[in-house]
């Protein structure tokens, strides 16, 4: 744990409504639990007693004082899931993972928890693993969900890769192609674009496969930094109007066809946020 990171989080939220909750949530999402040291820093920085912060941290279900596994499986026990046998699903997970609810497997791979309602009641019993919703789960699907979770299947942007397809992207200003047929990524021509971040500039290469979004930067870009994208031909800045739904960073627009379809991609380094506007109506 890096105490600077904690300090940064605290600083970022200080003075806003609900800051303590948000601070703890951010720490939790960064470390997957609330380390004791972090709570001390939060108490110190916010002027609240450690007892107070500890009270908050233990009152709410979403916070954990124990380190969590690499993967999180949540089994819904809302009323709708319960009447459709959710309890039996939870028991089956506990049996197969050899843990009680709220615990982590010995190999630190999976934390299993039960939650009160995930709000997908029509599809119950519901299980969410690494953000992926499995609907109408029955005891026989439990093994498969565990296997997939361990294999990280649910982490890969939610979708399987077999339905990706290549896009022929071009510059919305000079309309020249951004594809580089020589250098291929994943078997398809790569998208070659000039980028600049902070005081550096250079080249980057993206996958042209829609739904893949591999980004390779040939310059050193700091973590979470925003990058400006430029057309390699006319040097226009590709930044568009939109903002990323996932991280709220500005989006860069590229042209997809002659009929006005536009692909917006998030300019944040790690973010896979993207939006395909087929009708070109978002202007």
């Amino acid at each position: 744990m890096n105490s600077e990171e904690i300090e940064k989080i605290v600083e970022h939220h200080t003075g806003r409504q609900g800051s303590i909750m948000t601070i703890l949530e951010d720490i939790q999402s960064k470390f997957h639990y609330l380390p004791e040291e972090a709570l001390r820093i939060v108490a110190h920085r916010t002027g609240r007693s450690l007892v107070d912060i500890y009270g908050v941290a233990t009152f709410y279900k979403a916070f954990s004082l124990k380190p969590r596994g690499k993967h999180l499986i949540s089994c819904c026990l809302g009323t709708a899931c319960h009447v459709r046998g959710g309890q039996a699903i939870a028991e089956e997970f506990q049996r197969q993972l050899h843990v009680a609810a709220g615990e982590t497997t010995a190999d630190n791979e999976i934390t299993f928890e039960t939650v009160n309602c995930l709000g997908a009641c029509a599809l119950g019993p519901i299980v969410v693993s690494d953000g992926h919703y499995s609907a109408n789960v029955n005891a026989r699907k439990v093994g498969q969900i565990i296997r997939h979770t361990k294999a990280g299947v649910y982490r890969t942007s939610g979708d399987s890769t077999h339905d990706t397809f290549p896009l022929e992207v071009s510059c919305p200003h000079c309309r020249r192609s951004l594809l580089d047929n020589e250098n291929r990524l994943g078997g398809y021509p790569s998208v070659r674009i000039r980028v600049s971040a902070e005081d550096r500039s250079g080249w980057a290469r993206f996958s042209s496969l829609y739904g893949n979004f591999v980004k390779r930067y040939e310059i050193d870009v700091p973590e979470n930094a925003m990058v400006a994208l430029f057309c390699p031909h006319c040097s226009s800045n590709l930044q568009g109007d939109g903002r990323c739904v996932q991280c709220n960073a500005p989006m860069a627009d590229v042209r997809v066809n002659e009929k006005g379809s536009v692909l917006s991609i998030c300019t944040r380094k790690e973010c896979s946020g993207h939006m395909l506007d087929l009708n070109g109506t978002t202007k």
Binding site: Q17, I20, V83, G119, A122, I126, N138
Partner: protein, 1082 residues
């Protein structure tokens, strides 16, 4: 995005967006809320994008990704505008088909919704029964807008109400509108919104004033708020903006639960877009009005839905409620005035300002105006979000919109209001849904969860579930809430584990009342509702758990054990013999079967398989283990002598058994083993009862019955044939003579009548008479065209027997409801259809016509026939059936049996020419004479007994089987025989008749199959081999055959071995027997 700086600029933008909208271009709308995505909407989106780009259709077909449309059961679904074509449960490949059709201007007819009720395809979304009766003022907007595009919202009239409110420059106008609309808080309590706003607006001289959107939708089973937040986030922002303007609030906060990631994402996007456009933040639309909204995420605490706890949470403290007053309106967040409204309340605000208070108030009832969204979930066919005008009845929502039960279960209750609400039984489903009506019956509106429960839901378990939830979620501040919910939960836990005592029910009531009276916040004050309402309406379920140690819904594990065993009327350890088959020990498997059931070979053929209907494999989404087929496999292979019953020492008392059917023979057999001398009196000339006279030989070969009965008789049992009770003797004669006790089990052998004229003419046969004539005497009564009326097993049996008779040309079966509701076993109906029996459903006979000289003439002439059926001729004994007249029915509302009542359609009468008519509408006992012997008879002719002991109203006389239950299954008769033997033994030994109930849990440990083999569980159920239809014609060969050995072994490995949960741990400490150490029977 250019910031708008005046209302004029905004309206100009709106006008432009409307002009650009091009509603004529086909648009594919994909429902992609959390439910949609969980069901595969993401793949659909990808498929649509790919197809539109690759086919170069992006200018001809539009694509709109929206939030939830509400019909979650049909997700992922697609709507195609402008025709509003609805496509349910679409795969990515289907999407290509839909785009193809749309591009050609047609409809992909094969992908349309099929109404399960009528079988008809429905094209338009609004014509679907699910949508038809809804009034979707809020939900309907979800499909219009892409939630991450503010222009979509504005193009559909969004932010116009805000502009309208702002341009009036009169906050009072808004307040008055909200008051006049009659809107009440949608969070559950139903406080008048206008009143709350007025109080809040009056708060001055304080600096900051907060409004909060309570999006901590914590009620398990409710998710309408999520759907609105995800699908139309701007509507919430707009509601809050209008509210802030009306009340002078300075800052807004949306407190949203962290379990809703997509909603949070969409809200964040909406907030930043609204700020960029200038409808949120400083100097909104240049009017000088400033207001901004922030998001605070909850962290998983149900109590934070309570307003003071919610405020504590935003302040960064534990979410504990505090005493009110002061109310948050005066002293809330940071000690400043704070007004909290629920998501759905906020979503209604723009609608009210847009349409006007009067239009809004016109919807719903006088005291509950507007619409309410419910999440209709649980055991219902059409799960989803349902928006209805207040005042609609529960029945309309559950039956018409919800489409009734999801499976064959019978709906018994709905639960509303989450943990604070209660269960409403189906007998009250005529209740209108509004705040006051629901409160009157002990529930509450709540935020709108409506969880449907059927006969596989245990109401004690539901109460326990909520108590567990509440003891978990109680913040702990009030002692009675913290400890009270815990104790309530413990008592309920005891009851569901078989440790319940009768006095627990009073204790529950007393404790529940205490929790209610002595707690501070809403959570505690309502915590007892789930217990109190289930106790009020489902007390008999509690009593069944306590007195009989039974959970009829098979939910409470400690009372159920292995469901297959618990379901079996004779308590057969099905799991155990299945496991023995897996081990290859067929003899032991036979002993397990036989030790519980004296009729293994018969049961292997005609049992109705209650075990399979409760098999965990089947109820968890797979196909039940073919338990009966496995039993057949064993009984075909193992000699009955493998099982050696233990004969007790002879006792001096004697018992008379009347009736040699399965109940009588079982009782006689069991009593003889206990040492009694038994005489069985049988009216016919051979034993078997229904097994021989009613069940057809192709289902149950005669030699199987004869052999099996032979194994059950011994020297202590004396058979007397041709002896009829009431004619040859009375009960009193028997008791006065040699017998110390009597068991009556002579069945139900009288066919019920249609009560139509001419029912006694030639060619019309009661089914029992028809079957008996053939089965006992070999007479073939049917000829020509045969009609059978009825839908039960005996109707189907009669139809199939008729079909085999040599002079029969065709057989039709007439039944008054639909095929789904026929009480015959499914596979019997299928078999009958295969063999060529035509089933005409929704028909009930109204009139039977007779052959007469006059009528023969009339038949040729046609129309006058009706009038020619004169009463005089009807009485003619020379008549013979020629045809029957039928009338078509439609299905009406659900009746007491849980099925929909058939209602005749006037004018739909038609006639069917018939040579033979078999009436199979039910059987009843011939029992009128019993009353004169002093026995208590009910109006259906059944004998009344104590259900637990089978004692009749006469001392020493017991009764069981069809005589008590009416026509029932063989296995239930066998069970009655066993129970009678037990009771009679206790009676003769002068012990109390009733035995205290104990749950029957698996008690023998059988090692599970080796790992690797368990993979077979995913496999398909073994199909039972049967004779091809062609080989069954005009003969009585047995249709069903036994499984081959390999198939049986494979099938046995599919068993989930529910028993292990009860024996595995205990086998280690030696408290449970293991196979191989004295587990043998006999």
């Amino acid at each position: 995005m250019k910031k708008l700086t005046s209302i004029d600029e905004f309206t100009a933008m709106h006008t432009q967006l409307v002009a650009d909208a091009r509603g004529d271009i086909p648009t594919i709308v994909i429902s992609a809320g959390t439910c949609g995505r969980a069901s595969g909407a993401n793949a659909l989106i990808r498929a649509a994008e790919k197809e539109l780009l690759q086919k170069n259709l992006t200018d001809r077909i539009r694509l709109r990704i929206t939030g939830c449309h509400g019909f979650c059961a049909m997700e992922p679904s697609v709507l195609v505008e402008p025709g509003r074509t609805f496509y349910p449960r679409i795969s990515p490949d289907d999407m290509v088909t839909i785009i193809d059709a749309t591009a050609r201007g047609t409809i992909a007819a094969e992908l349309l919704y099929v109404d399960p009720e009528t079988g008809k395809t429905i094209e338009q979304q609004d014509e679907l029964p699910f949508f038809k009766k809804q009034l979707r003022t809020i939900m309907g907007r979800n499909e219009k807008v892409d939630p991450i595009r503010i222009h979509d919202y504005i193009g559909n009239g969004g932010y116009l109400p805000l502009a309208k409110a702002l341009s009036r420059r009169d906050p009072k106008f808004v307040l008055e509108e909200i008051i006049a609309s009659g809107l009440r808080g949608r969070g559950g309590a139903g406080f008048p919104t206008g009143q709350k706003w007025t109080l809040f607006a009056a708060q001055r001289n304080s600096g900051a004033k907060y409004i909060i959107c309570n999006a901590d939708e914590g009620d398990p089973g409710a998710y309408m708020d999520r759907s609105v937040l995800e699908g139309n986030p701007h509507s919430i922002l707009e509601g809050m903006l209008i509210g802030a303007y009306a009340t002078g609030a300075s800052e807004g906060i949306i407190y949203i639960r962290t379990e809703y990631p997509l909603a949070i994402q969409h809200l964040n996007t909406a907030l930043s877009q609204a700020r960029e456009l200038g409808v949120l933040g400083e100097n909104i639309l240049g009017t000088g009005f400033s207001f901004d909204i922030g998001i605070v995420k909850g962290a998983g605490a149900f109590v934070c839905g309570e307003e003071t706890a919610l405020i504590a949470s935003i302040e960064g403290r534990m979410g504990e409620p505090r005493q009110r007053p002061p109310f948050p309106i005066a002293k809330g967040l940071n000690g400043k005035p704070t007004m909290i409204n629920n998501v759905e309340t906020w979503a209604n605000i723009p609608i009210i300002i847009d349409a006007g208070a009067r239009a809004f108030a016109a919807i719903g009832t006088e005291k509950s105006s507007g619409t309410k969204i419910f999440s209709l979930v649980g055991k219902i066919r059409n799960t989803g979000l349902v928006e209805i005008p207040m005042g609609m009845t529960i029945n309309e929502v559950v039956r018409n919109i919800g489409g009734g039960s999801a499976r064959k279960g019978k709906i018994k209750a709905i639960q509303t209001g989450g943990p604070s609400g209660g269960c409403i039984p189906s007998s009250l489903f005529d209740l209108p849904i509004d705040y006051d009506s629901l409160a009157k019956v002990g529930s509450i509106m709540g935020s709108g969860g409506m969880i449907v429960m059927d006969d596989s839901t245990c109401m004690v378990d539901v109460a326990k579930y909520f108590m567990n939830f509440l003891q978990d979620e109680s913040c702990g501040k009030c002692f009675t809430c913290r400890k009270g919910t815990q104790r309530l939960h413990e008592i309920l836990e005891d009851i569901t584990c078989g440790k319940g005592l009768p006095e627990h029910l009073t204790l529950l009531e007393e404790l529940a009342q205490t929790v209610k009276d002595t707690t501070m916040c809403g959570l505690g004050q309502t915590a007892a509702n789930p217990v109190l309402s289930t106790l009020k309406y489902f007390r008999e379920e509690y009593e069944r758990h306590i007195d009989d140690k039974r959970c009829d819904a098979f939910v409470c594990k400690q009372l159920t054990g292995a469901p297959c065993q618990a379901a079996c009327p004779v308590d057969t350890e099905a799991w155990r013999y299945v496991a023995m088959i897996e081990k290859g020990d067929y003899e032991e498997a036979y002993r397990v079967i036989r030790s519980a059931n004296p009729f293994p070979a018969v049961s292997a053929r005609v049992c109705d398989r209650k075990c399979e209907s409760r098999c965990s494999l089947g109820t968890s989404g797979g196909e039940a283990v073919a338990i009966r087929a496995l039993k057949r496999f064993v009984t075909d292979r193992v000699k009955p002598s493998t099982y050696k019953p233990v004969l007790a020492k002879k006792k001096r008392q004697r018992v008379a058994v009347v009736g040699a059917g399965p109940a009588g023979i079982t009782a006689a057999h069991c009593l003889s083993l206990r040492g009694y001398g038994v005489t069985v009196f049988e009216a016919e000339d051979r034993p078997g009862g229904m097994l021989t006279c009613s069940l057809p030989a192709y289902r149950l070969p005669r030699d199987v019955v004869e052999k099996e009965i032979k194994t059950l008789l011994n020297r202590r049992i004396k058979m007397e044939f041709g002896r009829v009770l009431g004619k040859d003797m009375t009960v009193q004669d028997l008791l006065a003579g040699r017998y110390d006790a009597v068991f009556l089990a002579f069945g139900a052998h009288e066919s019920m009548r249609l009560d139509l004229r001419h029912e006694d003419v030639r060619g019309v046969f009661p089914s029992i008479e028809f079957l008996k004539a053939f089965n006992m005497r070999g007479e073939e009564l049917a000829r020509g065209h045969v009609g059978v009326i009825g839908g039960g097993n005996s109707a189907v049996d009669a139809a199939r027997v008729a079909l085999r008779q040599k002079d029969v040309t065709s057989v039709s079966l007439f039944y008054r409801r639909t095929r789904e509701e026929m009480p015959a076993y499914e596979e019997e109906i299928d078999a009958a259809l295969e063999e060529g029996v035509r089933i005409e459903t929704l028909i009930s006979p109204v009139k039977i016509r007779v052959r007469q000289e006059e009528i023969e003439a009339a038949v040729r002439e046609g129309v006058e026939l009706e009038t020619l059926v004169s009463p005089v001729k009807i009485h003619s004994r020379k008549g013979r059936l020629v045809d029957i007249e039928c009338i078509r029915n439609r299905l009406g509302d659900v009746d007491a049996t849980g099925r929909r009542k058939p209602l005749p359609i006037p004018g739909s009468e038609f006639r069917v020419r018939l040579d033979t008519l078999i009436v199979a509408v039910g059987e009843k006992p011939k029992s009128e004479f019993l009353a004169s012997m002093g026995l208590d008879i009910d109006k259906s002719g059944r004998i009344r007994v104590n259900a637990k002991t089978l004692e009749t109203s006469l001392r020493g006389v017991f009764a069981g089987g069809d005589l008590v239950t009416g026509p029932n299954t063989v296995i239930d008769a066998v069970a009655a025989g066993k129970k009678a033997a037990e009771s009679i033994d206790r009676y003769l030994q002068k012990k109390p008749l009733a035995k205290p109930a104990t749950p029957k849990l698996p008690s023998v440990y059988v090692e599970p199959a080796q790992a690797g083999e368990s993979e077979d569980k995913a496999g398909a159920r073994a199909a039972t081999p049967s004779l091809a239809p062609a080989e069954r014609m005009k003969n009585y060969r047995e249709v069903e055959m036994a499984l081959p050995e390999t198939a049986a072994r494979t099938e046995s490995r599919r068993c989930l071995r529910c028993d292990l949960a009860f024996t595995e741990k205990k086998s280690a400490d030696g408290s449970v027997r293991s196979v191989g150490e004295g587990a043998r029977h006999g």
